[in-house]
């Protein structure tokens, strides 16, 4: 899973670079607009190490933001699973807020909180929270009738059991959504760093952008891609192990 993720990223990345070089060749653009391979390699040699640590810095925000989102999404999703008025109210709010581009709120957050770690974390969490919430709400509010019937009719149903049944029956769906949300969290963190931050790969890309240095941006994109591929691959492997462990060993 992990290697497949990296392999897929490398394919896409090098296809993109090849496309750029083809455009450069066809239109006859200078190295200033689209750098050639030697320049990209030279820039990579100079900046790769620094960018790697910048991506790790962004990854910290991503992971923390994702964890906060997952906890929040499950808490609200479980509370909103019932067809009571509270459940309907939570669902209505979630669907409506989800329809709004949260990233547009980023400037307000920076005006109120300034640069730094907290605004980045907040934006990363917010961007991956709503898609996660909708998936969790969808799973938690869909009864698994053929399993739940017995517990309901015999009066043995408890909310913890209901949540466990629904989570277990939709384990692969939840795992996919959680690992997919890593990309969203990282996108949120990078966007936050673009707008106003003093650290992270988004901040470095912003500087490269001001310098119109596409080679630096390409190296930064490579670092982001590799790191997020490894992180997603690890998440997928972990979720696969958890699914197997829950399905095979627990409860005996």
């Amino acid at each position: 899973m992990l290697f497949r993720r990296i392999y897929q990223f490398l394919l896409v990345y090098f296809a993109g670079i090849s496309g750029l070089l083809l455009v450069k060749l066809l239109v006859g653009l200078s190295d200033y607009v689209i750098p050639g391979i030697p320049l990209i390699f030279a820039t990579a040699g100079e900046t790769a190490k620094g960018y790697f640590f910048d991506v790790l810095n962004t990854l910290q925000v991503t992971v923390l933001g994702q964890v906060i989102s997952i906890i929040l999404a499950f808490t609200v999703g479980i509370a909103g699973r019932k067809s009571s008025w509270i459940g309907s109210f939570i669902k209505m709010i979630a669907y409506n807020i989800q329809a709004y581009p949260i990233v547009a709120l980023a400037p307000i957050i920076f005006i109120l909180l300034g640069d730094g770690f907290i605004p980045r974390l907040l934006i990363a969490s917010m961007i991956c929270y709503f898609p996660l919430l909708l998936s969790v709400l969808g799973v938690m509010s869909s009864p698994v009738k053929d399993i739940e019937h017995f517990y309901i009719i015999t009066g043995k149903m408890r909310w913890q059991l209901e949540v466990k049944i629904r989570a277990f029956e939709n384990l692969s769906k939840l795992a996919t959504v959680i690992s997919g949300s890593a990309t969203l969290a990282m996108a949120g963190a990078i966007v936050a760093e673009f707008i106003a931050a003093d650290a992270g790969i988004g901040y470095s890309i912003r500087i490269a952008l001001y310098q119109s240095d596409l080679a630096k941006i390409l190296v930064a994109l490579f670092m982001i891609g590799i790191v997020i591929s490894i992180y997603q691959g690890l998440l997928e492997s972990a979720s696969e192990r958890i699914q197997k462990a829950w399905a095979i060993s627990s409860g005996n």
């Binding site: 053929d146 399993i147 015999t154 277990f168 399905a247 409860g251």
Partner: protein, 232 residues
């Protein structure tokens, strides 16, 4: 005396005009192993679900339970959660004081070697037996078995029905099955649901209510079967 009386029950699913039950009147006058019999789509399962959860459904007519406090409804497509083995699941849902009964039922239902397996690893007949056993070990007055023995081989099905009749003589069972011979032989009162071109029809026929396989009078069973077929 345990008693179930339904008068003029008319029921349609919400949002439809189609009457699933149309002026159904029937009585089950004593505990025992009774049956609902009829072709597919005449409202057997709908009636069963109505009985099991009166508060959730809106219907016309009157359903009266006497000495029936707890109604359970089991059906053949139910599943057990997949995170534990069938045996572990049974342990969790069965009260300690019913341990001896559980062991007896497990032996009769031929489930001992399967208790370590996950539900999805079992055949459909095995799944239905596990499902039925957990219902039999709950507290109930009326247990509805909606095709709960589907996919179980005939010999074992017969043994299970006879066991239920022997162990739970004071309980009421309502067995929904498409097996005419089995219903005629082992059931007490048989509610026959018809749904021909002239509309819905309902009747009650006395089954042979045999309590052992040796006591079966083939001639009388044939007569009951004929009576049921004519009642459609």
């Amino acid at each position: 005396m345990m008693h179930l009386e339904c008068s003029n029950i008319t029921y349609s699913y919400p949002g439809t005009d189609h009457k699933v039950l149309d002026a159904l009147t029937c009585t089950l006058s004593r505990p025992g192993f009774h049956s609902i019999f009829g072709p597919s789509g005449v409202g057997k399962s709908s009636f069963a679900r109505l009985l099991a959860d009166l508060n959730r459904h809106t219907f016309l007519g009157k359903i009266e339970f006497t000495e029936i406090q707890t109604v359970l409804y089991s059906y053949n497509l139910e599943r057990l959660p997949g995170w534990s083995s069938a045996g572990a699941h049974l342990d969790k849902v069965v009260a300690k004081e019913k341990e001896a009964l559980k062991q007896e039922l497990i032996n009769i239902f031929e489930l001992s070697p399967l208790l370590g397996s996950r539900f999805h690893q079992l055949s459909m007949g095995q799944q239905n037996r596990i499902n039925l056993i957990r219902y039999l070990l709950q507290t109930f007055d009326l247990l509805i078995l909606d095709e709960s023995l589907a996919n179980v081989d005939e010999k074992l099905r017969q043994a299970i029905i006879l066991t239920i009749k022997r162990i739970f003589p004071q309980k009421m069972f309502l067995y929904i099955s498409h097996n005419l011979m089995e219903v005629s032989t082992f059931c007490d009162e048989i509610l026959v649901f018809g749904g021909g071109s002239t509309g819905k029809s309902y009747g009650t026929i006395q089954g042979q209510n045999c309590c052992s396989s040796e006591a079966v009078d083939r001639k009388k069973v044939d007569e009951t079967m004929l009576e049921i077929m004519n009642a459609f």
